[in-house]
């Protein structure tokens, strides 16, 4: 009886951990998806497909900057992806370089702040600031995401 209870408990804890891992993966993917939508809107404006709207640009940049603190907490042990990208495409290198990973997220937050401030300057002036933010995105994707 005791053994069964212990067995069930261990099973529950393992299942709970798996659920938590799954939740973390889903949540970080959702945040990154949200950032993608913010960036998509900006690219459309910079390409002239939709009118440049400084208020919306600032809001999108604020949204990106608002994801970073939570984002870096969403990488519990055991949630690395694999090269075939089944499940997720996070490279194991993230866990070997957690300080660098967090520093890059912090840089994105800073870049977002600068971009919010630059939004009012119009599309021409905003483009280089956005491109700079893009380099921060890219640096992380290059190092920590399995290639698409």
């Amino acid at each position: 009886m005791k053994r069964i209870v212990i067995g069930l408990l261990v099973g529950c804890i393992a299942a709970g951990a798996a659920l938590a891992q799954d939740g973390a993966i889903k949540r970080r993917q959702a945040l990154m998806g949200q950032n993608g939508e913010s960036a998509e809107l900006i690219t459309k404006m910079l390409k002239g497909e939709v009118p440049y709207d400084a208020t919306k640009v600032a809001a999108a940049m604020t949204a990106i900057g608002g994801t970073t603190d939570e984002f870096i907490t969403l990488f519990p042990e055991g949630t690395a992806g694999t090269a075939d990208k089944k499940g997720n495409d996070a490279k194991p290198e993230i866990w070997q370089n957690k300080a660098d990973f967090a520093a890059r997220a912090m840089k994105l937050k800073q870049d977002s702040g600068l971009a919010v401030a630059a939004a009012a300057g119009g599309a021409q002036n905003f483009l280089p600031v956005f491109a700079e933010l893009g380099k921060t995105c890219q640096g992380c994707h290059e190092k920590y995401q399995f290639q698409r």
Binding site: A39, I42, T43, A83, K135, Q138, G139, F146, Q147
Partner: protein, 308 residues
């Protein structure tokens, strides 16, 4: 280094004569190589991205280093074994310091080193053979202006039979035709410029075109996407198919090469990150030309679709 012989000098003389006859040495019209264009070709070809020093911990990761110090040493891990990318600074002992212009052109277009050895096509000479001779002359002149750095690089570590360089003669017979890019008169000057950049210096097909079992690119599936040569995923289909970038406009392509952002707000990562950074340094006209060309090629359907 290798002793030169009479035949070689004759070849140099003939090529110099040919060069003079076609006025190829001088895109700037004064008979001297155009260093600015040489540097531009160096960027378009992404020379520094591959010939980088390795990151300290992992050889397959390039160290974030000075683009003007192509000391090599980073590795490419492939199914054939591990390639170590050579030093192409003008150092006399370990770099290209002892090479002549003709040595350089021969390596870029025929995949043969000055000592007569076959070079492995991890060095994308099957693309570089398409380059205009004037661009190669300019590129060589630019490389010679770089600082010589005596940084040694390990030998390639390849499995049998790939470690037998002479075996590459067969590969070359199959995939090297020695043809310099010729413009298609039925297409616009812009599309032809884009085609040249993609197929010559930009060597896009080396990753984006699938290869047959012998490692030669499959012409019928040009730019239709392929397994990543380093085995880490799939290099996207960049033809105008629905499984490729059919939904992208020319502006989308040009903008993504400029900023790294795809139309869906994704960012170009992986090996494309460095390529994109180089493309961002080209002129807008050239990025637009690449876009126009990519929209003009036959669509190829691929198994993997481009992630939206």
């Amino acid at each position: 280094m290798h002793r030169r012989n009479a035949a070689f000098f004759a070849a140099v003389l003939i090529s110099s004569a040919a060069t003079a006859a076609f006025g190829q040495t001088s895109p700037n019209g004064v008979g001297k190589p155009n260093l600015q264009n040489g540097r531009y070709m160096y960027t378009a070809g992404g020379c520094a991205s591959c010939h980088a020093a390795p990151a300290s911990a992992k050889c397959d990761e390039p160290k974030a280093a000075d683009d003007l110090k192509p000391v090599g040493g980073r590795c490419l891990k492939t199914d054939f074994g591990t390639f170590y990318v050579p030093n192409i600074t003008p150092d006399k002992t370990v770099g290209l310091g002892g090479w002549t212009e003709q040595d350089f052109i021969t390596s870029m277009t025929q995949g043969t080193s000055p000592s007569g050895d076959n070079l492995y096509p991890a060095f994308p000479y099957a693309s570089y053979q398409r380059m205009k001779r004037s661009d190669l002359v300019d590129l060589w002149a630019f490389l010679k202006t770089l600082e010589p750095i005596a940084s040694t690089v390990p030998d390639h570590d390849l499995s049998f039979p790939y470690n037998i360089r002479s075996g590459l003669s067969v590969w070359k017979g199959l995939y090297l035709d020695g043809k310099i890019f010729t413009p298609d008169p039925s297409k616009s000057a812009q599309i032809n410029r884009g085609a040249y950049l993609v197929e010559g210096p930009g060597h896009c097909g080396e990753c984006h075109t699938p290869r047959d079992t012998l490692g030669g690119i499959i012409g019928a599936k040009k730019l239709g996407g392929a397994p990543d040569p380093e085995g880490k995923g799939f290099t996207p289909n960049i033809t105008p198919d629905k499984t490729g970038i059919g939904s992208w406009s020319e502006k989308d392509i040009s903008f993504s090469l400029q900023t790294g952002f795809t139309p869906s707000g994704d960012i170009m990562g992986g090996a494309m990150a460095k390529v994109q950074q180089n493309m961002a340094k080209l002129t807008k006209d050239d990025r637009d030309a690449i876009a126009a060309y990519l929209k003009s090629i036959p669509p190829v359907e691929s198994q993997h679709s481009k992630k939206k």
